[in-house]
């Protein structure tokens, strides 16, 4: 049993954490519905005019569309690679398993600016700069470990004999993969794909290095705007980002349940 004092302490901690974690979201949300012309919190009055403004702004709409393209390219490139790698890492004894594990740690150790410059040089050499697909591919390369993790954590939860059981039922290798292994790790694949999509959608630094004036993505567009003038429409754009992320999490919950997402390592 907890005493009243302990309970008070625990709940205070919980509420302080909730407040701190949600403060930026709340502030941005509030600032986006101001009726004044300055970004401010608490907002002056209530108005959706900034949402109207960003909906009408051609450059923002185009940047949003480009970000969607980048996120789609990234997910489509990463999906087969990450899924196969995730399954292989957790279901088979691989010769270079250790080297692969090190690779999976890279996103935390190599600064994004470093990998971004590297990718910029590579795509520059290939004459790929100026179009959108290199940005998507770059996001896939940088964020791939998240998909691999998601799939392999889903795959390690499976019975080690699952593929043997399928063989026993008369399924050959390809049938076993298509009918048993892949569907069984599908929760991890869906989780990882949504994660890849959102990460690519939000990717700023690499986009900044790989885009030019014709191909700016949404985060870069916002950054460019901040450099000139900070108006409440930027808060409205940020809210759109938050809503997309929220929608992704809701979709995840509906599709596979959040436990698996939270269990992903």
């Amino acid at each position: 049993m907890t005493t009243a004092g302990q309970r008070l302490a625990i709940w205070s901690l919980v509420w302080i954490s909730i407040l701190i974690l949600s403060a930026p979201t709340v502030v941005v949300l509030g600032a986006s519905v101001t009726s004044g012309n300055m970004i401010a919190f608490p907002p002056e009055g209530f108005s959706l005019k900034w949402y109207q403004k960003i909906a009408m702004a051609r450059d923002l709409r185009q940047a949003f569309g480009r970000s969607l393209v980048v996120a789609t390219v990234c997910t489509l490139v990463a999906l087969p690679v990450g899924t196969l790698a995730g399954i292989a890492l957790s279901r088979y004894r691989l010769r270079f398993a250790n080297a692969l594990q090190v690779y999976l740690l890279l996103p935390f150790t190599v600064p994004l600016i470093g990998s971004g410059i590297g990718l910029m040089l590579v795509f520059g050499e290939w004459r790929g700069l100026g179009s959108l697909w290199p940005v998507g591919v770059a996001c896939a390369v940088i964020n791939l470990p998240f998909l691999v993790w998601s799939v392999s954590s889903s795959a390690t939860l499976l019975d080690p004999d699952l593929e043997h059981a399928a063989a026993n039922c008369g399924a050959g290798r390809v049938q076993t993969f298509l009918h048993v292994t892949l569907p069984a790790v599908m929760p991890g694949v869906i989780t990882g794909s949504l994660l890849m999509f959102i990460l690519a959608m939000n990717e700023f630094l690499v986009s900044l290095l790989l885009t030019d004036a014709r191909t700016v993505t949404l985060p870069v567009q916002i950054y460019n705007s901040i450099r000139s003038i900070i108006t409440p429409d930027l808060a409205a754009v940020s809210v759109v980002f938050i809503v997309i992320a929220g929608a992704a999490i809701a979709a995840l919950d509906r599709l596979v349940g959040l436990e698996i997402f939270l269990k992903s390592k």
Binding site: L158, D159, P160, D161, L162, H164, A165, A166, A167, N168, C169, G170, A171, G172, Q175, T176, H179, V180, P183, A184, M186
Partner: protein
Amino acid sequence: MTPLPRPDRAPEPGQPAVLVRDVDMDFGSGPLAVAGASFALARGRFLTILGPSGSGKTTLLRIIAGFQQPTRGEIRIGGQAVTATAPHRRSIGMVFQKLALFPHMTAAENVAFPLKMRRHDPATIPGKVERYLDLVRLGGLGGRRIHELSGGQQQRVAIARALVFEPELLLLDEPLAALDRKLREEMQLEFRRIQKELGVTTINVTHDQREALVVSDEIIVMDHGRIQQHARPVEMYRLPANPFVAGFVGVSTFLEGRRTATGLDAGGAACAGTPVGAIPEGAPVQGAIRAEQIRIEADPARLAGCDTILPGIVRDTIFEGERLLYLVEAPALGLALQVYHHDPEEFALFDAGAEVSLGWNARDLLIFNRQDGRDGR
């Protein structure tokens, strides 16, 4: 006593459903995981491979299933050599240790899967699935997802999936090991019922000697990769081939000594016993006697008729429910014997420290040559 015959290596097989010949398995490190394993199993029989962990029993089962290639030797199923055949081309149903049910399918979809993969006529599949779900008493639960079923129900789905395509051979890889005792005993009888009903040749692997005795027509005891004995349960129990089997199946006490004309001499104490196979007098031997074959009395006069009578001191009394286990020190032998006492009227007859007399008959102390067979301890 005249020596007992050496126990048969194997009961006489008719046309063997399974033939394992000279199988070795070398994983490259340490001794062979399976060494020179050979046995034949007749159609419709229920065989249990019994052994401690690391005895090679699971490796042998996986070789039969085709998940591992033996280093040497041959496997025949239904008369056909399958040693090099891929597992999915063998007609074998298997129930796995952790069941390995397909988590994204319902119970009925799990059972239908082997029929689909083995290209049965799609029109017949729902009927077969229903029949086998009924057989394992899961009628009406086919639509459930795997995680919505209890442990026992999941077991039953795994059995139905392994049997639905009418395989030539059913393999059981310790599927009951993780269950609690009551459910395990229920499922043991269930395996036996289903196996008898379908008459499917079955090989079961377990480390539980009680399970082996309960479910099997035949038992193979393995240790250190070698088959120690292949016999029917009663023979296995009554006439173990070596001290290892005597120690692994049932509860036995072992005596060290030298062979005499009437039994063995354990450091001066003469014990009446029966040699297994011919053993020259004076040879170092090991005797094994089962806990339930030693009589324990306060008054030695009541042991009249026993071939050996020894004084003892009770060291511990362990209540096991349906029986008592006494640990009785016999000063003449310099060791403690395990003695069962089954008579409920006389439960807790002796407390620790009580002076008692122990007695047994010559036919119940089995004497093994130290030179062959493995140590029982």
